[in-house]
Amino acid sequence: MKNSQYQGNRIINSVIRITGYSSVLFVLLILFFLLREGLPALGSTPLASLFSLRWYPIEGYFGIVPLILGSLLVTVIATLIALPFGICTAVFLAEVAPSWLRDILKPIIEILAGIPSVVLGFIGILVFVPFIRKFLDIPTGLTAFTGALLLGLISIPTIVSVAEDALNTVPGSYRQAALALGATQWQTIWHVTLPAAKSGVLTAVMLGIGRSLGETMAVMMVTGNAPVMPVHLNSIFAPVRTMTATIASEMGEVASGSQHYQVLFFIGIILFLLSLVINISASLVSTRSRGRAERLLS
């Protein structure tokens, strides 16, 4: 190889190497920035106040507990809704559906994935909120449940596609062995295939949870945004305020560096850490086989 070519290669290789590290750089940058702006909240606001039960920032009430619980409540209900639908649909697509049906259904699920959350929030206000109020005969349709319904819709495509991938990765020999032993397809699915794909399915669920936790627009438009402590069972059908909606609503009004600004960034840190935990667990759980994409020999 000519010398100039070799030099050119060295430069290209270095550039590529640097871009490879860029993702780490960005994560660290975001973390750094959040910490820089948010940690001072621990200094300026006494912990007792920060973890009190009332959020009313313009009068100095900075209790973030109702917000954390609000996010958790909506996320948990959303997952409970999305899980059965997501997993069953994934099983149907991977194991039962004929390929022509699969070719129709997969794009439909992907359409749901593509619908922007503000559109779902829009439909939520116009259609779901009045309907839920009348149907359940409750004072208002702006509730945690309504938000959870929308979040469930948003996380279903994630659960379906990751779980379906996981099921497809289970080697055909597993299924054949079970069938050869006399099991029906149904028994095979639930006793052999699904357990074999367990880690992938678990990953799917965790990614779905992460998606729900981080959603902003849809919940901001339909949950009522009341910073109530959601501790009773019927809090599900009462308004609630999530961490994400709080940041989005109040972000613009805070003076840079003020106590309120710091607490909002602090909430951002909490969200960042929660998603970190969920995502790292998801990646530890998932089998690192890249099945259909990996071809070492061909």
């Binding site: 009332r54 009313y56 920032p57 313009i58 009068e59 009430y61 109702p66 206000i125 909120v129 009045p130 109020r133 004072p139 208002t140 349709g141 702006l142 901001m220 438009m221 009522g224 945004n225 009341a226 910073p227 109530v228 402590m229 009462a238 308004p239 305020r241 609503s249 109040e250 613009g252 009004e253 805070v254 003076a255 840079s256």
Partner: protein, 296 residues
């Protein structure tokens, strides 16, 4: 690479279409604006600011005014950060905001550009049509929880409010919940729904017989019912909000609407602000349901 030529072709077509669209609108904006005024803040004022911006384009096509909402708090913060020229506010600037601006080396100027009434609204099916200020305060503090306590139906009260970044919210807190008493530290009850916009309140109130909300007069539509409010001095005299009752001070929940600039206005900003006090601009105020500063 041949299989990608249709894709490349489509992409180029797409870009050309974009360019054509941009060019055609550029022709429409024949005199390309020389100056932009950035205007941000109160969601109460935002539609008024929008109407003014549209009208002012005809007055002076060389000036373009960009309008955004976000709440009074947002606008004033943007002003202090130096990212907008005019901040719209539905409450007066707070002391700490003023000191922040002064500390940053600015000399904020205040202008009252219209007046406004805060209407208390309920669902048209709700029989309750008048309240005293004390009752209103008790409702929003969470002390009265059922419409039957006020002579209405046996329905749980659902309280609606704007978000805390709204000047309207702060005004309501100080003048209604605290009845104007600066030493009072009462706040909204925790289960008050904090909706991100005035229109959101209207949407819920017109749908929901349990609901009570408050909104600027400029946002009230015929789908909701206004409640007459008495005053502390004349508790038996219930008054509905209107231009008349705001101007003669018989409706107590009235307030001024402000704009703030960083410095004493000069150049195009000064011309624009001067225009806001013209009969044409004040007619727009009236058309939108607010109360003009300029009496006819």
């Amino acid at each position: 690479m041949r299989r990608f030529s249709p894709l490349v072709f489509l992409f180029i077509l797409f870009l050309t279409a974009c360019q054509a669209a941009v060019n055609s609108t550029a022709e429409v904006n024949a005199a390309l604006p020389v100056e932009t005024i950035e205007n941000k803040g109160s969601d109460t004022i935002v539609n008024l600011a929008l109407a003014w911006a549209e009208a002012y384009q005809k007055v002076d096509p060389h000036v373009a005014i960009s309008v955004t909402g976000g709440g009074t708090g947002t606008g004033i913060t943007a002003l202090i950060n130096g990212t907008v020229d005019i901040a719209n506010a539905s409450r007066r600037i707070k002391d700490e905001e003023l000191s922040a601006a002064l500390a940053a080396g600015y000399d904020p100027q205040e202008f009252i550009i219209a007046r406004d009434a805060i209407a208390i609204i309920v669902n048209p099916q709700n029989p309750v049509d008048h309240l005293t200020p004390q009752q209103l305060s008790a409702i929003y503090k969470g002390e009265i929880n059922n419409w039957s306590e006020l002579g209405g139906d046996d329905l749980e009260i659902v309280r609606l409010s704007r978000e805390t970044n709204s000047g309207t919210h702060v005004y309501f807190l100080e003048s209604v919940i605290r009845l104007g008493n600066p030493k009072d530290d009462a706040i909204f009850s925790a289960d008050t729904l904090l909706l991100p916009s005035s229109e959101g309140i209207i949407a819920e109130v017109k749908e929901n017989p349990h609901a009570i909300g408050y909104d600027s007069l400029g946002y009230i539509t015929d789908d909701v019912k206004m409640v007459a409010i008495s005053s502390l001095e004349n508790p038996a005299d219930y008054v509905l909000p209107s231009i008349q009752s705001v101007n003669d001070n018989s409706y107590v929940i009235s307030r001024d609407l402000y704009i703030y600039t960083l410095e004493p206005p000069a150049g195009v900003i000064k011309e624009y602000i001067d225009w806001l006090f013209s009969p044409e601009a004040q007619q727009i105020v009236r058309d939108l349901g607010f109360v003009p500063i300029l009496k006819p």
